[in-house]
């Protein structure tokens, strides 16, 4: 029997350091691993002894791509402890900030990192030579997401204007209105862009996932909601630790997650879409229908289209928030510390970002727990890889490697985040 190993020591077009290892004996895949060798940075340890007001700025340094997710989950957990509920215009501004993060992060992944796989390019710069309009529109969209982040947060990476209780300074209405023209351009351009994406060739690969996401009564989830799944899970965020169990594996600095008493759980755009379809704005549902998506999509390769539908949602939601915005009286609520434990979960572009803090009466953090969505998805990615490669062992090493990389990029893995988290080796024996 011929045997081979396919190895990618440093995966490209993902955020952070990971590798793929595939061991094949004859026509059987024996092992498929997504290795994470991003060095650990020990956030839960270094947060101890810090004032609770410092936590959002520190935890957002876990990830330069999705800092808002870390900021927001920390704020919600800590506000919960202190008995503060941020409502009204401040809550709306938090949704707007999240719109900015989803637009920039999804646009980066959809067009710069994932689309080149479908069109056969090494990167977006090469792709731009043959598809200039696609890449120029993508950059314009990404820039718009960053402009929203900057208008509210001061800068696109590690915003400085978010605090427990609200913001340091709320934006002038005129500053937000200035974003509307570009948002309307993007909504007008969206159907054509969706059509380009939905014309890609998608491998047949529908999987039977347990999808989990937040669900809120009135809105597509960013900041708040119950933890739900398509297999009956429906609990408040405070029960996250009872329903999702972490364990450590030898080949990863990221911890793996399972649903207690069951198997793996899939987080991110496919899960949110399946569980919250009815909450999408009509423009987003229209784009989904024209792209040929049903109300549930189980093929991770089509996640690129679902991510784009979420971009359209974020664009429409941003327009809604901005048009209704009135400058609030105060930029933040007063938050006084009190001893306790709090839980925060918000929808990062890649799925649920969970944080738990315990603080003392003086506001000093005594313990914390942070779970990044990619660490939860890591085991699902490995299961996908095993199933996907098993049907394609006849391919050449080169073709199999690229398609397996693509299967990993389906999840927009953020390895810098996941580390507590990647190496491809295909080994054939």
């Amino acid at each position: 029997m011929s045997s081979r190993t396919i190895e990618v020591n440093y995966l490209a077009r993902v955020e952070g350091e990971g590798a793929l290892h595939l061991r094949i004996h004859g026509d059987q895949v024996e092992e498929a691993r997504l290795k994470i060798f991003e060095p650990p940075r020990f956030f839960e340890a270094l947060l101890r002894g810090r004032d609770f007001r410092e936590a959002p700025d520190i935890t957002q340094r876990i990830c330069g791509i999705c800092p808002v997710a870390y900021l927001m989950s920390a704020c919600h957990a800590l506000e919960g402890i202190c008995g503060v509920q941020v409502d009204g215009p401040l809550r709306e501004l938090r949704r707007l900030l999240y719109c900015g993060e989803w637009i920039q992060s999804h646009a980066l992944h959809v067009f710069m990192l994932h689309a080149p796989d479908f069109l056969g390019y090494q990167d977006a710069v090469q792709m731009a030579k043959d598809h200039p309009e696609l890449v120029e529109n993508a950059l314009r969209l990404k820039k718009l997401g960053n402009a929203i982040m900057t208008a509210l947060g001061g800068r696109e990476i590690h915003p400085i204007n978010v605090k427990v209780g609200g913001f340091y300074k709320t934006p002038r209405r005129s500053a937000l209105l200035a974003l509307l023209d570009e948002l309307r351009w993007a909504l007008d351009a969206a159907p054509t862009m969706a059509q380009q994406l939905s014309a890609f060739e998608f491998p047949e690969f529908a999987q039977d996932y347990e999808f989990a996401s937040l669900r809120h009564d009135d809105e597509y989830p960013f900041n708040e909601g119950r933890l739900v799944s398509n297999r009956g899970l429906d609990v408040p965020v405070s029960e996250y630790d009872q329903v999702f169990v972490q364990h450590q594996v030898e080949h990863s600095t990221a911890l793996h997650t399972r649903v207690a008493g069951r198997g793996l759980v899939h987080l991110g755009p496919l899960a949110r879409y399946a569980l919250n379809y009815a909450k999408l704005h009509p423009q987003a549902r229209d784009v989904a229908q024209r792209a040929g998506l049903g109300e549930v999509c189980r093929n991770p390769f089509q996640s690129i289209v679902v991510r784009f539908v979420e971009i359209v949602y974020a664009l429409a939601e941003a327009v809604r928030v901005i048009e209704a915005y009135r400058e609030p009286d105060a930029p933040a609520l007063v938050v006084e510390p009190r001893a306790g434990t709090g839980y925060g979960a918000t929808e990062a572009p890649r799925g649920i970002c969970y944080q738990r803090y315990t603080i003392d009466d003086d506001g000093s953090i005594s313990a914390s727990k942070i779970v990044a969505p990619t660490s939860v998805n890591q085991a699902v990615i490995e299961r996908d890889l095993f199933a996907f490669a098993s049907e394609r062992t006849q391919l050449s090493d080169e073709a199999l490697q690229w398609q397996c990389e693509q299967a990993i990029r389906n999840y927009d893995p953020c390895i810098s985040c996941a580390c507590h988290f990647l190496r491809l080796t295909v080994e054939r024996t």
Binding site: R13, A45, L46, V125, L139, N146, I157, H247, Q248
Partner: protein
């Protein structure tokens, strides 16, 4: 004429500083036309072997493997520029330098024996020769473009080494320390962010690290006068640039 080559390497970090390059939406395609992006795995599968004309290094050194890897990166690089607080000062993960890393490991991991890490997080310059250090957590993308274009044209980047206060005055932003009594790190902090925090009614918290010859002692005294307690003064110097010598030394005085 042969196009000059650019490489990007990552060590322990959040990816944000190299993302700044992709965040140059208006300049990215022109930049990619002017230079050969030879090694940038976050953006491209195509990776060329070195040597490279300009190498940008993000992240700090926290593993024995990375301490070796940076030497190979240096050997392949004609010019090596560090980008961001991790590469320049060790990043937030340098807080372990003031603690017991074995104890840190046990807090985060059930099986610390699976994890390979050093007891410290250190800057790139403490391992190899660095040609220029770009500050910030994250870096400012306008400064990044200045660095790239300058080195490709063989000149030093025009980035001034002065405190945030100078920029605040020029920007006509009212001093938050004087007018509102906020505990601002601006007097000791390197400029470059564009006066972000004071513009947002917030005290500077030191993302860009210490300016050369920072008078951290006088600043600490002022922070005490403003009512900050010893532990608070220690902590303000111990964040994203905790490993920068001026901030590290000052923080140790308040343990």
């Amino acid at each position: 004429m042969r196009k000059k080559t650019l490489a990007v390497f990552k060590f322990a970090s959040c990816d944000g500083c190299q993302l700044s390059l992709l965040d140059c939406e208006d300049e990215l395609l022109a930049l990619a036309g002017a230079i050969e992006i030879a090694h940038f795995p976050e953006a491209s599968r195509a990776v060329m072997d070195g040597p490279y004309d300009l190498t940008l290094v993000e992240g700090s050194i926290t593993t024995a493997h990375d301490a070796e890897r940076i030497k190979h990166v240096r050997a392949q690089s004609r010019t090596l520029v560090t980008i961001g607080a991790c590469a320049t000062a060790g990043g937030i993960q340098a807080l372990r330098n003031f603690a017991d890393t074995a104890e840190y490991l046990s807090v985060v991991y059930a099986r610390p024996d699976y994890i390979e890490t050093l007891a410290s997080s250190t800057s790139i310059a403490s391992h190899v020769t660095v040609d220029f250090e770009l500050r910030g957590c994250p870096i400012d993308k306008r400064q990044l473009l200045e660095v790239i274009t300058s080195f490709l044209h063989g000149k030093r980047p025009s980035i001034t080494d002065e405190s945030l206060c100078a920029d605040c005055k020029r920007a006509d932003v009212v001093c938050v320390m004087v007018s509102k009594g906020m505990p601002c790190l601006g007097p000791a902090t390197h400029t470059g962010c564009g006066v972000l925090c004071p513009r947002h009614d917030r005290a500077c918290y030191g993302c860009f690290g210490p300016v050369t010859a920072a008078n951290t002692g006088a600043l600490a005294e002022r922070l005490f006068q403003l009512g900050m307690r010893k532990d608070g003064v220690k902590r303000v110097f111990r964040s994203f640039n905790a490993g920068a010598p001026a901030f590290a030394d000052e923080s140790r005085k308040h343990e």
